[in-house]
Symmetry: C2
Subunit: 189 residues, 2 copies
DNA sequence: CCTACCGATCGGTAGG
DNA sequence: CCTACCGATCGGTAGG
């Protein structure tokens, strides 16, 4: 079972949005990368905006599914937070386009699509925050403002893709260990 | 002494780049906000790219000057790091356009301008990193990878403007205290 | 400072 | 799937 043309379009678009940005990627660019003319794209998608929406919702789903799974597991808030940070770092390295769509590219969504995405992300943030609040209530974390902790941790993991390049000087394991040290030692009492 | 037209153009452009983005801001938009026609802008600047370059270099200078001053003061690495975080938070709240230019808008620079900006920012990051390294060497900080600590702290403070809205629920003082707790407790042994 | 205008490029459609 | 083409908009220039 091979990829549908629509899948090819979405994957190529996600890559181009990552490399050049949404506005700077033209439908002609995109078509050329798949070996089509621009007008042929419209047999598979209805607009550039629809491409953006499908990409952004798909990336949001990836993070939402992970945190929903995590939520059901019988582990401590500290373990959940550890796994969350680990997952964000892994995704930053193995699926950069999802991270970029989730953190940056979505800003070009419009109207209902934009609102839907913001609602999705809000839900994700609330689930994340719940873990922090649980950790505070159970005495594992210092009495920090949950929203500030949430956003600070999210910023730290969301922008890894922007600066991290796998080199000899920093291994992925080292990255994970160090960020976990910073975040967890910063929060634990 | 009133503002020159060039200053007015740069300030209006920085605001528009913040609100809409560089590509999405047309020279016609910009001109209209100052009460001119687009063609008249070119009596004061040579191109849209020149506007971008002046804005980005100016914002980089703001951060560079601060860290250079800090570097000369006879205080501990912990105190220096505290002041750096404090300054970034203050700038995020009082001079958002500078933060956005320094963290995001610069990506639209081209060729030599882009290289010059990257060099400037590299210098800033090196000065910042030096403080972290001093703190580790003097035994104040845990033995963390300086580059990871640097980028994690920078991410945390750079994206405050993106999520923080001054409301009753989080005061600026609270923001400062909580982020400092997270970062400093995360790094101190 | 303006009017008038340039070539290039954009997202998207018609029609086969 | 393509060719041909649309109106809109872009950064920038000529010329006064």
């Amino acid at each position: 079972m091979s990829k549908t043309n629509k899948q090819k379009i979405l994957e190529a678009a996600a890559t181009l949005f990552k490399e050049k940005g949404y506005v700077e990627t033209s439908m002609r660019d995109l078509a050329q990368h798949i070996g089509l003319k621009a007008s042929s794209l419209y047999n598979h998608i209805s607009s550039k905006q629809e491409i953006l929406q499908l990409i952004c919702i798909s990336s949001a789903d990836k993070f939402t599914q992970h945190i929903n799974n995590l939520h059901q597991q019988p582990i401590t808030p500290v373990e959940k937070l550890t796994e969350l940070v680990r997952f964000h770092i892994q995704t930053a390295m193995e699926d950069t386009t999802s991270v970029i769509s989730f953190t940056d590219v979505w800003r070009h969504l419009e109207k209902e699509d934009l609102q839907q995405f913001i609602d999705n992300r809000r839900q994700y943030e609330n689930s994340f925050k719940e873990i922090i609040v649980d950790g505070i209530d159970q005495g594992h974390f210092v009495n920090i403002h949950p929203d500030i902790a949430l956003q600070t941790i999210l910023s730290a993991v969301h922008w890894i893709y922007d600066w991290y390049r796998p080199t000899r000087s920093i291994s992925r394991q080292e990255l994970e260990t160090n960020i976990l040290t910073l975040v967890l030692q910063g929060m634990q009492r």
